[in-house]
Symmetry: C2
Subunit: 243 residues, 2 copies
């Protein structure tokens, strides 16, 4: 298996969004996707934010994204085209994880069934999170799933609700753990502090603990979705991880 991290640019959020109710200065956070070349095909996890949408609907998040940081350009960097992606998985359907879905019209789209329902009929306080609906285009091949599941050998999706109702985390080859938005930073994992945007904070704490337990069980490395310091230490496409 080869695994690439696809750079999607960055946005700025309040510190109380990074860590719920913990004050501090605003912070610029990265956005990235995970591409995996597997014997069963090419898998993509999340698609970042769309610059036009974010600039228009959430301009206060000061989005930065070069043409080279879009999904098609990042795939090309790894030697692929959007039509090569057999399976797209959305960890959840927030705007900064679905922005490139519209480019992957040939892919099967795996998403938690509760997430799908919620994104289409969400709470008022989830407005910004679910503001980009372009993933829900006519003809999208969405395949709702639920429960923990092995997507393919070594690609294990496990339920981690709280941030959103149908949030999935991913364990790759029992070695690399992508917790997506269960928590944003190493300090947040350590202190069990979820992000300010969430649907169910009680479930959110349980999910942070589940990530810790799964990581400990497999001695897996946890990858952080929205931490700039951690991101700088990762390999960025076209560099890759081999498993």
């Amino acid at each position: 298996m080869k695994l690439w991290l696809l750079d999607n640019g960055s946005i700025v959020i309040e510190h109380t969004q990074l860590m719920w109710n913990v004050p501090g200065p605003q912070v610029r956070i990265p956005s990235y996707s995970v591409l995996i070349e597997h014997d069963d095909g090419l898998f993509l996890f999340d698609t970042g934010f769309d610059l036009e949408h974010t600039s228009r609907v959430l301009p206060f998040e000061l989005p930065e994204q070069t043409p080279e940081q879009t999904i098609p350009a990042q795939l090309e960097l790894c030697g692929f085209r959007p039509s090569d992606v057999g399976t797209l998985v959305n960890s959840h359907l927030h705007f900064d994880h679905v922005g490139g879905n519209k480019h992957l019209t040939a892919s099967k789209v795996v998403v938690h069934e509760r997430e799908l329902a919620q994104a289409r009929d969400h709470e008022s306080f989830e407005f910004f999170g679910y503001s980009d609906k372009t993933w829900d285009y006519e003809g999208a091949r969405i395949e709702p799933v639920s429960g923990d599941l092995e997507l393919a050998p070594g690609l294990w999706l496990f339920e981690t609700p709280g941030h959103t109702v149908g949030h999935y985390s991913l364990l790759v080859g029992e070695k690399l753990l992508f917790a997506f938005d269960v928590m944003y930073t190493p300090a947040a994992l350590d202190k069990e502090i979820q992000a300010g945007f969430h649907n169910d904070p009680v479930a959110g704490v349980r999910s942070i603990r589940r990530v810790k337990a799964v990581a400990a069980e497999h001695a897996a490395e946890v990858f952080f979705s929205h931490d700039m310091d951690a991101w700088q230490t990762y390999k960025h496409a076209p560099e890759f991880y081999e498993l």
Copy 2:
């Protein structure tokens, strides 16, 4: 019925605590209790914060409370002693609503049964909220209740969970509605934005809507627990409302 608002001083919170995920400057908010002289006896709702506890455990909230703003002093201002209070009701058990409970050792203490259990075994993220445990002294005459209930003619407690699991609001004489911490300000009621500290934001939105519906049904005036501008327009003890 006579109703007094007892001034308990003020604290400072982040704007994202006043209104969840809405940035802005820090804000100083009032804390107050509600005293009601009723044919069935003297009722007190909430007891504000304890200055020593807040200064020690939450010094970043910059508590201000003069000796005249304590529960015994405020009761005296209205012509009463702590032992005159037959029934104390805690809308919920956060530190800024229970700080004076320890002075009311002769009172029956009415609290939601879920709130009682949660305050004694709370989520990690509720640490500061439930940090003052002095209400739980040996011999405290706590009477757990649940469901909507008429405490006495014209004193209606109705369930409004979300901010905490067992939060009660109060309708007095079908005219005055004390929503306590369902939301903090008139703008928050209008826009249905709960406080940053909460246990269940989905329930929290439902409770804001319930407050709106109850207020509309009875054409009742909503009193805001933590809004300095609104507080300045209210009558402060020894002035009172007559119902």
